[in-house]
Symmetry: D2
């Protein structure tokens, strides 16, 4: 019953096998190998984007920060949700990679950027011209930090608002697979067809060891990206080992299968929790994240029975009575088994 | 006959197996797992440094740049050999991570920093006080870019010069294993006992997929390092997969066996080349790098026969007569086979 | 009737005269001249701080940014009011000088940091350790952007909260003179005695041409400050001309006289406006800034009659009826005359 | 007999008077005043460059660093003479403002960049593509740090080499006036007509208090420059006081008169020194800098008699015999009088 994070999962056997296969014999370093080329080609194919360029890195923070640095100059600001990972969990990596740009925080339900709030912020941007940071980029997260999804239409609306202000769009797609698996749209529809300029496509949380792809739908920024990646220390000499992961991930729809499994396990947990007296889902479950308010007594019982998960927010009183409300976060992954879900649900009764 | 670089080698089976083993089951993310802890403990043991802290990253550029950023403030300069990797091959990553420090270039045979030249540079540092960059750090590379080694005494002399000027010492140990395997000293003798403050211990070139350890012999800088690593996007969520590599690398002396093998293969190549009419080793071969001047005709013959290696310097005339001198670089690795060495030597006759 | 900003004023004759006097004959450059030394000594005397170090720059943005860079590492955050100058009007200069630190915004009436909100933010800081930016510095503005003042007790309370969290305190004292002139306390009581670690003491808005002093009450940071100032291009070769301004400013209490005059002129305007039907002071007037809500018709009349001032907030409807409320900002300065104040008040009737 | 530096001079009376005149009455802040507009117009006129944009700052380091940041991305390098001010005397300000670009050092007589050496460096640039810093900008200094001048033809040749490699040209014109006064060419011929893209036109060393103009002959970079200037804290609120200096400086050829005077005084000193037994000019005197080797005994006599100047290089033995050679630097300025020159020459006999 390990629901702390999809980061806590291991690696998918198919991906491990691909890494092992890639180890045989010599290969040109720094991405000049055939496997890296094949992986880029596969990304283009999966995204129906023959002109796109795709580059591999190994962490989501690297992917997001390098992408934002290509979109937002140092004297500008990135519009993002106040609950986003780039604001809260990357220790100012975006500020580092952009050489000191700002992040402007926007509200919105489900940790999704609210379109009207974005419109208002952009309308009020740089009231004193060069005295102010300039509009730089919009960054949205798919699925959001609360597990909510942007429909293609919602993404397109936000992108249209941003583009109208001359602002390009970055999508933090750490859990992009979970979103696509749920939305039933194509990868292209969830990204460039909806106006996304750069997508950071995560694989690590969904079965890889450490692999993320930064997809530049406009290839004009490719050279700058490559220089920034090298300068950030994110160009791997034995790139084939990162490529092998991403290649296997995207082969035969593996990425969508593992994501769909994680989503399905989340659905089961959510259904069971929603049906439990005193429990309430804080946000609808659309991906593999569950935020649920439960009686503190139930929480205590679950932990005592060996369930692992995180408290959703800091500052909650852990010493209250058994019927006090308490909000926790559960995350499923490609590794989550029906057995451990059933075991957990069995504890709710 | 693949001698382009040790980066072109695959991964050692023992390391691959360790990665596969590490994939089973859940583990706390971001280095809070038992394998990461065990790896740090192993590094302390191998280096006889119970107080040291060791942190894992996945590229040499990340290791070097993060280490230098902890040692050198933005208004200071890193003393380094003019042929060093940090000067020539990291696209200003040290400048990026230090937020704009300089590199001050020093000469020396075999791409090793000359002690007298270092003394002179330090004596002449900051002649106009705050108008000048201040002395920041010394960075030396073991083995050097030309494959030369610093004996423990040589390292100690440089470190003493640096420390006398208040300057800490960084060692780029991308090929530290090759050095230790050859020098016959302990890892401690080649590093902290000789005055090295931070060692970047490479594993990637010597059998790993992507793993480097930054060893801070003074743990006071550990917290800053961790924050800088996170901010640089170099903190892996599934850290166990990096740790598994480094752990296997250091287990039962695997790292020194693979390095000794690479060195031995280099010795054979060097001996054969040195005995070949018209050939001359540019620098003595001490690690797994061979720089050799040969007749252009021989070079042409080798390439035609299927040998792969790089030209040592840009700007050499490739169109000269067969007896024109031509300098090339050969690199051996843990994967280099006796067969391919013999095949290559057979072409020299 | 020029009330746009105290930046729009010229220079005080005594300060101009001091600059002219300083022009005679040679002097050592870069602050090694006697006038610069005398100015630092005078600052120490005025602030009863014999150990303090004081350095001159020429803009408030430079002063604030350099000071914050000495207090806040790149992986930390500056707590500041959401309406502060460093957040809104310096085009990310603090982010630039700190090499990418964040600003964390806090509310509070009168554009003053609310103590409880600060306490809450510090208590919630860095919930995930190195994944988050760390607490870096507190920055407060005296007088605030709305012209409100921190009493010594209020400053001391905020500083105590900050210091308890290991966070040093920066005071943006662009209008520090106006505050001291009003509070009736000593400069020391308004700064270091209340816990301020670095004060940026403005002179430009209050009679100088371009002169600001950064006062480090803890001299341990002096060397770093000097290097950062030089590296930022803010070390003047003919420093005597900046020093002459600050020296004259602080001589015989000139700075407090000019500030008291500006405050008095603001009081007159405020009293007249408060007594005008339909007008309401948005915040009590404590320094030389007046924020007043007035009928749009009155605003139109004032502008038509030749009054110059700024609208307080963007986004107000300028096309409404004459009785629609409208908020404007008036600023007085050392140059504001009783005549122009009377002229303005005469228009209110 | 004050020949330490032109920075040690005071301010020209005409410039002081202009500053005093500018102090009267209100003016819009941050450069929106008529005097700033007039100054920019005057620069365009003087340089016959109706499309150019010109921006004012107050230090040479700010001017150079901001200009280079507009020309050279963080992953590139600035080609400059190894003796240049930006390399040796700005405490890594160019690295700071460019967010971590490099400086690549080039030799050349008289501290002037050698054209062949530049050609060679550019030809050898980035041999490994993205692993290396890219060619960024060329920076030359007029007059050079040794007082040598680039003729328009020499500038044009360097600019042609740079432009052929896609590299724009920055001219550090701290002593541009001395160069133009000597060369007898127009300001345009010495700058944009010879291929200079951005000129930093100094006034401080030649009569101003603190004023430098950054002239962008290509206005496309103007917006970026303005944002960088603000972000660097170099946008003055009371800009009229900087503009007043530059305006007066360029009015009725004042700048060329003061420069010609300094040059003439240097000529007299040089002629006298060249005619003195045991003395030798190290480089021909073309501007207002004199580098002369003299017997140590003469140096001792001059200092004892009250002459002030700097030793040219660190590390010279001051304890040698009277006939040992010793190299010193003399600098004249607009303030240097015929009397003090005659007094100095009288000591040589």
């Amino acid at each position: 019953m390990f629901f702390t994070s999809d980061n806590a999962a291991g690696a998918h056997p198919d991906i491990l096998a691909a890494v092992a296969r890639a180890a045989a014999g010599p290969a040109m370093a720094y991405g000049s190998d055939p496997l890296t080329a094949r992986t880029e080609a596969r990304i283009r194919e999966v995204f129906e984007a023959p002109e796109a360029r795709a580059f591999l890195v190994a962490t989501g923070t690297a992917a997001n920060s390098l992408a934002l640095a290509c979109l937002c100059p140092p004297w500008a600001t990135v519009y993002t949700h106040e609950g986003s990972h780039i604001e809260n969990d990357e220790c100012a990596a975006p500020e580092f990679y952009t050489s000191g740009a700002k992040l402007t925080l926007i509200g919105g339900e489900g940790a999704k950027v609210d379109a009207d709030a974005l419109t208002a912020k952009l309308a009020a941007a740089a009231p004193h011209g060069i005295h102010n940071v300039q509009p730089g980029a919009l960054s949205i997260t798919q699925a959001s930090e609360l597990g909510a999804l942007y429909s293609p239409d919602q993404t397109a609306r936000l992108a249209a608002i941003a583009h109208a202000a001359g602002v390009p769009v970055h999508m933090d797609g750490t859990r992009f697979a979970n979103a696509v698996a749920r939305l039933g749209c194509t990868p292209a529809e969830a990204s460039w067809k909806a106006g996304v300029d750069i997508l950071c496509l995560g694989a690590t949380k969904n079965g890889a060891l450490a692999a993320e792809a930064v997809i530049l739908f406009d290839p004009a920024r490719a050279r700058e990206f490559e220089l920034r990646r090298k300068r950030g220390g994110h160009l791997f000499s034995k790139m084939r080992f990162v490529a092998a992961q991403m290649d296997a991930y995207l082969t035969d729809g593996l990425w969508l299968k593992t994501a769909a499994h994680a989503n399905a396990m989340a659905d089961r947990l959510a259904a069971g929790l929603a049906a439990t007296p005193g429990c309430r889902l804080v946000v609808p479950v659309e991906a593999n994240l569950i935020f649920v308010e439960m009686p503190l007594g139930l929480h205590r019982r679950l932990i005592a029975a060996g369930a692992h998960y995180y408290v959703a927010y800091g500052g909650q009183d852990e010493t209250g009575p058994d019927d006090a409300p308490y909000v926790v976060r559960l995350v499923t992954s490609f590794e989550t088994t029906e057995t451990e879900v059933a075991q957990f649900l069995g504890l709710l009764g």
